[in-house]
Amino acid sequence: MTTEKKQAELIREISGVEPLKCMKCGKCSATCPAYNEMDIKPHQFVSYVANENIEALVNSKSLWKCLSCFACIERCPRNVQPGKLIDAARQIVLRQKGGDYLKDEEIPELLDEELPQQLLVSAYRRYKR
């Protein structure tokens, strides 16, 4: 089994998503508030996993642009949940050694007086293991 095939299976397993349910309506991309910032768009996540094109997906900057706002998950007429796929791809990266998107050393200069604790814990959970 190729690495990409294994990773595609892992993404399906972690996310619990069946990409073949997608009917390509594009509603997820239409509703995504981070669409303009993404190189691979929400409706494409599904094809990347179905086609086992995982290398490109895990290197995509979209992983770090998704806001977990659940708009795509709420509005998908087929309950495919593209947001869960992108999170699983993120997990593949984060669960590898050195895969963190946020380093502790970066934190001090990102802080300001008003910054709520909630922001730090949320970012730690989405960007780090």
Partner: protein, 264 residues
Amino acid sequence: MKYSYYPGCTLKNKAKDLDVYARRSAKALGFELEEIENWQCCGGVYPLGSDEIATKLSSVRALNDAKEKGQALVTLCSACHHVIKRVNDDMKNCDDVRERANNYLKLDAPYKGETEVLHFLEVLRDKIGFDELKKRVVNPLTGKKIGAYYGCLLLRPSGVMAFDNAENPSIIEDFIRAIGATPVIYPYRNECCGGYISLKEKDMAKSMCEKICESASGFGAQMLITACPLCMYNLNKSTDNNLPVYYFTELLAEALGVKEESEA
């Protein structure tokens, strides 16, 4: 009526107002918020991976604590509410999560999602009733035009959150009417503020919040109210004095005449 209360990390620090005004208002309305002892941080975001367990345990501990006291669990922060409500749904409906979490925690009795999770706004709507709240208001905020900012976490995914209609919610508008003010409905009220993106990509969050604030101002709002400290922080980076952002509990305490009370 006594509820278990889960304040969460931010309400003990940067969002003290959200907490203090809620406690004063609860007292004025005749219900008690009993803080869960030794609660642990919810993690801020719900872990989406179906194999995640450790990241859900702090929520399960809080939920089980409430269950053992026979109380419903009340939250205030949108993020805590989102995480705890979704973990509770997993414990109720997902065999794998329930079995593994219980194997790990070894509680006196297994936790199976028995606790009712209520956001403070749901207590006002479903337990007190907005009509009753209206009767208790001594200082109505007459003439104030207020935009409700819902954001994402209270509403979506609606199947689990079951908070309100996710596309056309009304609970905060009904709250605004109950305290005597006028709600302003604007299209961006359930759009994302950027959430945690504002840590590393401040410009992205700022442009998202500018759209929200412009939309609200354009429809005539004089202020916004929210239940989420992170929404508040992000919105405050984009708004100016023409559209201040408040926690809904601050306006509630003001309307109930308990805002200036010396002790919480």
